[in-house]
Amino acid sequence: MNWAWFYRLGSPLWFYQMTTRWLPWLSLLAFVLLSAGLIWGLGFAPQDARQGNSFRIIYLHVPASFLALAGYFLMAAAGAIGLIWRIKLSYMVMKSAAPIGAALTFLALFTGAVWGKPTWGSYWVWDARITSMLILLFLYFGVLALQYAFDNEEAGNKASAVLALVGTVNIPIIYKSVDWWFTLHQPSTIKLTSAPSMHPDMFQPLLVMILGFYCFYFVSLCLFTRVEILRRERKTAWVGELAARSSNVVEEGKQ
């Protein structure tokens, strides 16, 4: 069972070259999807009967919370691969996934809060989904803080990988217990998240936005990972040559 292809998959050089080729196309696709979805959702989708136009924030809130959660699982998976097969690249992917996930979770919280104001009259509502999203943000902060607390890079990667795994085990428990807690205290009010059977005209732009957010997520992840690769492999030959080549380009441009 030769694992050559698997380890080749894990080589930073291969990842860097592969992303140099594919990244422009992926970012173009992300741009098209996002702008189309946004214009469609904000401009063309029909108004919601009860919430009026404020429901349009769903086109930002739902994709962001999807990505926030999916991002955490991706980060934990990258950490697990790093721990089990000791592939340096997967640690780099984990390190890059953390800040993006945290930013998207914050975005989900912000859009949720802004959405709460017109529908419920106050920015912060202890709704089940919003509360679980807040705890997810704390989980992200835990991983980020642990990552940069160690001066030994190796220990930092392993500790935050384990924390991400522990967090993954806890996420379903947290979500279930927050839902249960929510029904305990406010059984009557409608839940923000119960996706009302949406009119197809409203639903299609949401799908486009979710796809757009996924593409954007992978573009950003690749960009952050490439920076991490350069930082970690700065002593290798190919990085030195790459840097030399790019700085010449800059000098020629200057003359």
């Binding site: 721990l83 705890i135 704390f138 989980l139 902060f141 835990g142 803080a145 642990l146 607390a149 160690f150 030994n152 190796e154 220990a155 392993k158 500790a159 384990v162 924390l163 795994l165 522990v166 967090g167 085990v169 806890n170 428990i173 947290i174 217990s177 927050v178 249960w180 807690w181 305990l184």
Partner: protein, 227 residues
Amino acid sequence: MKKYANNGFYAYLRRDLRLSHRRLGEAASPLIFFVMVTTLVPLGITPDPASLSVMASGIIWVFALLATMLSANGLFSGDYQDGSLEQLLISPQVLVMPVLGKITAHWLVVGLPLTIVSPLLGLMLSLPEAGYLPLMASLALGTACLSLLGAVGAALTVSLQKGGILLALVVMPLYMPVIIFGGATVQYGIDGLAWTGPLAILGAMLAATVALCPLAIAGVLRLTSIN
């Protein structure tokens, strides 16, 4: 296979209890913290018994959580400083048992006294009559859960100098389900509902953490003892 005095669950349980016994002042500080900080509430918010009794169960649970978390740091940092953690890592035994022994010792020194003292604080915060039994039951199980989860945080931050506050940051989200069901148990008791329901869920959480946390801790101690 040669056997050693320091192998296994009871060896570490006895040793840690003896260590805490030698430094009783230090061991009792979480308890004193728990009592003192609970007296802040009437001073800070309101001494009026009616409004206190509404908040009593939540307050006691939150401060029990904080007391356990503050004391979790000492679980491994003492051993790390004087080198006995390294001796533990290379001792011929499965790492899970001594870790469980240390956590049980931590619970006996911190969790149990909190549970025993909690009715006294219930009195101070005018907790309704029906709340005392569920309070003690939920704290007994809950503090054990908190000790186990806090130990995971302690293992993650053991090699850091300023690990204390980071431990709180790392462990706090993991504590949230425990406090939800802990508070709910007492609330159900006060409202006259069957409070054994949430208590059972707390028991399930304890079973899960007893099974999984020592494994995670053993893994983390081996991985991050690099320097």
